[in-house]
């Protein structure tokens, strides 16, 4: 089978991998080094994502915050159409309650705690909030979330009917992932998934890392495994085009796409023909 197979040392350097992809326009076989348990777990996650395909998306839960009844109805519909689970609330205060945040200690905002029960029951993968709300604004809500050790990793998106550059930059600086101008459209909502994916996939790596503390860190390249998974998700590949072998992932047939994750930027084009069998 023709194609570019990356050797172990090529895989070590993510940037070299990127360079290779740009040069080649063939099907890509991503060859991973012998996988450590954490990486194997990731691979397991990947194959289940590949298997479930679109079904995975329904697992993402979005909390939408807006004081306008109409806008709540709209955002709920937009999110449901995109196969997200949705909860809507009409204020920042209610949002914090839903997230299980209790302001026990007003003097130390960083010690906002989550009651154990709530943390287990309510998993929120993204919060999308209106900026202009009476009482607690979307910006205030954003700040509280980013100040909370337990909630700060939840991506937050701000919506506003007003295009005020200083407002936008303030929100982005405070940690908002995106700023949508109202009325929000399906194209905007389509931008949400990558933000949720990052956090969803990050946690398993970190958990497993903790469990395997005694393992030799040299053999683990979790960022690279993450990259490959993210890459494959970005390609939106249906299962038949994703062939997963113990040390090998075959990616068949894709279109030109740009993937960026953190500091990794990969721009590549792949034209392939369907290959049956290894």
């Amino acid at each position: 089978m023709s194609g570019m197979v990356l050797g172990d040392d090529e895989w070590v350097d993510g940037w070299a991998w990127e360079a290779n992809l740009k040069r080649e326009s063939k099907e890509i076989a991503l060859s991973l080094p012998p996988l450590s348990p954490p990486a194997q777990d990731m691979l397991g996650l990947l194959s289940s994502i590949g298997a479930m395909g679109m079904a995975t998306e329904s697992q993402f839960h979005v909390l939408a915050v807006d004081d306008s009844l109409i806008d709540r109805k709209l955002i709920e519909k937009l999110l449901k159409i995109s196969s997200f689970q949705v909860t809507t609330v009409d204020s920042g205060t209610k949002a914090l309650e839903f997230l299980g945040l209790h302001e026990h200690d007003q003097s130390k905002p960083s010690t906002l705690t989550i009651s154990p029960n709530n943390h287990q029951e309510v998993e929120v993968n993204l919060i999308i909030t209106d900026y202009c709300m009476p009482g607690m604004t979307g910006y205030d809500l954003l700040k509280k979330i980013k100040e909370s050790s337990s909630l700060r990793n939840i991506p937050v998106v701000i919506m506003s009917s007003e295009n005020v550059p200083s407002r936008i930059s303030r929100c982005l600086e405070e940690g908002a992932e995106e700023f949508f101008l109202k009325p929000v459209r399906l194209a905007d909502v389509n931008r949400l998934r990558p933000h949720m994916m990052k956090t969803k996939l990050k946690d398993p790596i970190q958990e497993k890392h903790e469990k395997h503390e005694d393992k030799d860190d040299e053999t683990e390249k979790p960022e690279h495994v993450f990259l490959s998974i993210f890459l494959l998700e970005e390609l939106h590949l249906p299962k038949r085009q994703l062939v997963i072998l113990p040390n090998h992932i075959h990616v068949l047939e894709s279109e030109r796409t740009k993937l960026s994750f953190g500091s990794f930027g990969v721009d590549f084009g792949v034209t392939t023909s369907y290959v049956s069998g290894p």
């Binding site: 109409i70 519909k77 159409i81 009325p183």
Partner: protein
């Protein structure tokens, strides 16, 4: 009236809303959210809008009777009103909202009151038109507007 004829007429009426500036692109966005799971989504949203905003209209009417006018409060009300109107694509109503807010910023009482009368007029006209449209749509059966494709 024969069904196809009803639908053709309905399509013409719908187009006239855009041509005459009553509705804008946002209304089409709403239509695109309508699907088999929510076949009356647009009508539901519009109904919700009229119910929700009637409260605001009352508040603004009352606020306009004060002397002197509290422009800050009026602007706040209108910000909300404009938001909802924008969300359903009510183009003319939205334009009146914008005008009203300009007068608030300028502290122009006369302008505010005049604009609000105009706003209420546009609001009522649109309501009548849309109510008639939805009723006719129900009679004609499912219409091929900008709906999400179902495979």
């Amino acid at each position: 009236m024969e069904r196809n004829q009803m639908r053709r007429q309905l399509a013409l009426i719908r187009q006239s809303f855009f041509d005459q500036g009553f509705l804008d692109e946002q209304f089409i966005q709403l239509e695109e959210l309508q699907d088999d799971a929510n076949p009356n989504f647009v009508e539901e949203v519009v109904t919700l809008y009229y119910r929700d905003s009637s409260r605001l209209i009352l508040n603004i009417d009352q606020a306009l009777e004060r002397n002197p006018l509290d422009f800050n409060k009026l602007d706040n009300y209108m910000h909300q009103f404009k938001g909802s109107s924008t969300s359903i694509g009510a183009k003319k109503v939205k334009a009146e909202c914008t005008q009203f807010r300009e007068y608030c910023k300028a502290g122009n009482s006369e302008g505010c009151m005049r604009t609000f009368q105009q706003l209420k007029k546009e609001y009522a006209i649109l309501k009548r038109k849309l109510e008639a449209y939805f009723q006719q749509a129900r009679q004609a059966g499912p219409l091929e507007t900008a709906c999400r494709s179902r495979n």
